[in-house]
């Protein structure tokens, strides 16, 4: 169990952020993260033998599969998106500005293709480089760079008001 605890601590930010990046509210993102780690726990004998990049790729793939299954099982999944669910707020009481920032980021992400959301979350939230992102998402490094280039300007237009020099900072 101790091994699994440290595995959880090393990867929980990754899994939770990827779930949020899919447009889920905080509760649904936590449920999806929990389900992903439950699968990891069931397969931990295999997972612990893998190197960390392969472990992360496994987690991301599992999360994607679970998210797709959930979506297929319930078309009502759209109710969980940030557009309709007022309970999307962070679980703890953050400031209104923090909450609005999260909404704006999730809104900006929702305008991207699914694969681009994953790339962007890994790059800008977890600060992975193109090689690490490529390994995790099983994409060529050049594809990651190309996708990032396309997303960068698009995101900047929507989010830079929140940047250090922005009006909302």
């Amino acid at each position: 169990m101790t091994d699994f605890d440290s595995f959880y601590e090393q990867n929980v930010r990754l899994v939770y952020a990827m779930a949020l990046g899919r447009g889920l509210n905080a509760c649904a993102a936590e449920d999806l993260s929990q389900e992903t780690f439950l699968r990891a726990w069931r397969h931990f004998d295999l997972l612990r033998s893998l190197p960390p990049p392969a472990q992360r790729a496994w987690l991301i793939q599992t999360l994607q599969n679970l998210a797709n299954d959930t979506w297929r099982q319930s078309r009502a999944a759209t109710e969980h998106t940030i557009h309709t669910d007022p309970l999307s707020a962070p679980a703890e009481s953050g400031s209104a500005a923090d909450w609005t920032l999260r909404l704006d980021v999730l809104q900006a992400l929702s305008t991207l293709q699914e694969i681009d959301r994953d790339v962007v979350v890994l790059r800008y939230y977890l600060q992975w480089n193109s090689r690490e992102i490529g390994e995790a998402l099983q994409l060529p490094e050049s594809t990651v760079r190309r996708r990032l280039m396309a997303c960068r300007r698009h995101l900047a237009q929507q989010l830079l008001a929140w940047g250090p020099e922005g009006a909302n900072a």
Binding site: A17, L20, A91, E92, R102, V105, A156
Partner: protein
């Protein structure tokens, strides 16, 4: 604004927006631990049921073997 500056600015925005608070993380960890404990209990219960079932089957098999032995016609 060049790409490098944009990247830095976006990193700051994403970090601030998506980083869960300490309380949020702690609550998630507690709920995860409870879920794993439940999973372990389910597995223990399942294993216990299977062991009992196995014991029952062995008993039935023993009885059948004994019955077959007793019912075997005696030659001679």
């Amino acid at each position: 604004m060049n790409d490098e500056t944009l990247d830095l600015a976006l990193e700051g925005v994403f970090q601030k927006a998506l980083t869960p608070g300490a309380a949020e993380m702690a609550a998630m960890q507690i709920r995860m631990a409870a879920r794993l404990q439940q999973e372990q209990q389910d597995w223990t219960t399942f294993t216990a049921v299977m062991l009992n079932l196995n014991t029952c089957l062995q008993s039935v098999q023993y009885c059948l073997n004994r019955s077959a032995h007793l019912l075997k016609p005696v030659r001679g």
